[in-house]
């Protein structure tokens, strides 16, 4: 009874405003982002360019289109009564920042040329690369992914098998460990001159180098994962009649998987750098080659476009790996969200 009167007194003191009926607050950030994109469209389309840019109009239209979409989302939520997906809502501040950044970039390049040309390309020049040179760019992505996938899969599989073998068998460990210690830390790119000379094609040489770069971290971390398995896990399985095969496949490997995925992640990072170097040095296709080629022609816009595509490709592949891990290691607590 005393608590009830207390609550009442507090309630009258603080006097909270009544909770509004609608569940979500108006998306002000969205409206602001719409305004920012509209301003960007006005700057791009309204101010004169310092040079003949082919895609200024298209860029202005894209910015205006984005502004329109954001306007529909933020205002429409009130009028038509639908809910904005939470993910879109969260990206609001980023959309706003991107519009501001695009406007600034546009001003210092295409409009007033404050940054020296041609080293700094304008947004519309980049857009032009995507609209006009997409076949070559797409082809480069495809070749890069194919080369990378081949080398990575071979390296990851070999590294995994070797890591399990070293972790499990003392004899294999005895012979493999010193070799691994000597060869492993050497950057795979150091093999480049020999590899291009020893392999019949630059493609197979690059596949080998990527596999080598991937294989080392996967081997070491698989090995460490297998070696670190709680010995009691083996005791449990052995008292229940498990064979050696069962101990490897059903105990050692699953227990080592978190560590294996760290190795796969590190191997993927290493494989990216080898891929780009290999494509710059000898392979006549792929994004690394495209970068080199664009630089040779002083086509800086193409270079930036290729860099952007490369970044998207790498982050996309890492995301893919993390998705796979989340799926396989759902039993783990506290996984890092990529």
């Amino acid at each position: 009874m005393s608590s009830a009167s207390l609550t009442h007194a507090e309630g009258s003191l603080v006097d909270f405003p009544p909770v509004p009926e609608s569940r979500t607050r108006f998306w002000f950030v969205g409206l602001a982002a719409a305004a920012a994109w509209f301003a960007a469209a006005m700057v791009i389309g309204g101010l004169p360019d310092i040079d003949d840019f082919e895609r200024t109009d298209l860029l202005a239209r894209i910015a205006a289109g984005l502004a329109g979409l954001l306007l529909v989302f933020s205002v429409g939520e009130r009028v038509v009564r639908f809910t904005i997906p939470a993910r879109l809502r969260r990206t609001g501040p980023w959309l706003l920042l991107l519009a501001v950044a695009l406007t600034a970039w546009e001003l210092v390049t295409a409009k007033f040329a404050i940054l020296p040309r041609p080293f700094f390309a304008s947004p519309q020049a980049l857009l032009e690369v995507f609209t006009d040179d997409y076949p070559r760019l797409g082809d480069s992505v495809w070749n890069s992914v194919r080369l990378l996938a081949g080398g990575y899969v071979i390296g990851a599989a070999a590294g995994f098998a070797l890591g399990v073998a070293i972790g499990w068998s003392r004899a294999i460990g005895y012979w493999a460990h010193p070799v691994l210690r000597l060869i492993g830390p050497l950057p795979a790119t150091a093999w480049l001159p020999i590899a291009f000379f020893a392999f019949p094609s630059s493609h197979s040489a690059s596949t080998f180098l990527i596999a080598l770069a991937t294989g080392f971290p996967v081997t070491v971390l698989t090995w460490s994962g297998v070696a670190g398995v709680n010995k009691a896990f083996y005791d449990v399985a052995r008292t229940m009649g498990a064979s050696q095969r069962f101990l490897v496949l059903k105990v050692a490997i699953p227990a080592a998987m978190p560590s294996v995925f760290v190795g796969l992640f590190m191997g993927l990072g290493a494989s990216f750098s080898v891929l780009v170097v290999a494509e710059m040095m000898g392979v006549k296709s792929g994004l690394g080659w495209y970068l080199q080629w664009a630089q040779g022609w002083a086509a800086y816009a193409n270079m930036y476009a290729a860099l952007l595509v490369m970044a998207l490709m790498c982050t996309g592949l890492i995301t893919l790996l993390f998705r796979l891990r989340d799926r396989l290691l759902a039993w783990q607590k506290g996984l890092v969200q990529w």
């Binding site: 449990v236 399985a237 229940m240 069962f246 059903k250 699953p254 039993w331 783990q332």
Partner: protein, 262 residues
């Protein structure tokens, strides 16, 4: 449901003979004797406790009976056959639940059947074992979602699914809170009474040994030798306040040199 799993149990548990076993560990070139001429017979269906000071070698003796280690001197037999390695008829329940974190509760309990390729034909026994320990509802949970007592129950179900003739309990309740421990002591006793397996319990809890076993074997400090073999001829279920248990407790604490405060 219980009767089903009980019906499949072999009628009697295994007998165990420990014949003049001594054992030593090699640690950094030095030899550390842990067992000193231990001889002991466990009759089928008995529940025998090994009680001794911490680190005296009682867990080592249990691991030898399980076949996980080989004695330096002497032999151990189960049902008259010499123990040379692990066998699914002798299952260990460890102090830690040692559940595989990547397997669900049900998949953990299935382990023994899966390891021996019996899962397809006898998979229904997994559900029965889970029901026996009262965790059917947690079949799809992962070990990290369980409390300590629940995890140890899963560990018990994982042992029972193998139809053990001999259940080796290596301080299985040592890390549980006192209330869960009391509950699980009762559960283990009633399970043992219903199924008839032989059980060897390693513990450093005098009260637990007295409450649960037919015989208490008191071991000396390392290297462990048998100090006393004390039969407890009291019917189950026992009462913790029983004055006869209090007498025995005083006697055992005396053997362990801990009777000063009695």
């Amino acid at each position: 449901m219980v009767s089903n799993i009980v019906a499949q149990q072999t009628a009697v548990g295994a007998s165990v003979d420990v014949n003049d076993v001594s054992h030593r560990f090699d640690l950094d070139g030095k030899t550390l004797p842990v067992l000193n001429r231990v001889s002991l017979r466990i009759e089928p269906g008995e529940l025998v406790s090994l009680l001794g000071p911490s680190g005296c070698g009682k867990s080592t003796l249990l691991r030898m009976v399980a076949g996980l280690e080989t004695p330096t001197v002497g032999t151990i037999q189960a049902d008259g056959a010499r123990i040379t390695g692990p066998d699914p008829s002798r299952v260990v329940m460890f102090q830690d639940p040692t559940l595989y974190p990547w397997r669900t509760v049900k998949a953990n309990v299935s382990l023994g059947l899966e390891a021996r390729g019996l899962l397809r034909r006898q998979g229904h026994r997994v559900d029965e074992a889970l029901r026996l320990v009262g965790l059917s509802q947690f079949a799809t949970a992962y070990p990290h979602q369980l409390s300590g007592g629940m995890a140890q129950r899963v560990s018990l179900a994982r042992a029972l699914v193998n139809d053990p003739k001999l259940l080796l309990l290596d301080e299985p309740l040592g890390k549980l809170d006192s209330m869960t421990r009391i509950t699980m002591q009762q559960e283990l006793v009633s399970l043992w009474q219903r199924t008839g397996f032989t059980a060897l319990l390693v513990t450093h809890d005098v009260e637990e040994a007295l409450f649960m076993s037919n015989r208490v074997i008191v071991l000396s400090d390392r290297p462990a030798a048998i100090k006393a073999d004390i039969p407890i001829d009291l019917p189950f279920p026992r009462h913790r306040g029983d004055p006869r248990l209090a007498d025995l407790r005083r006697r055992i604490l005396g053997l362990l040199g801990l009777d000063a405060d009695w």
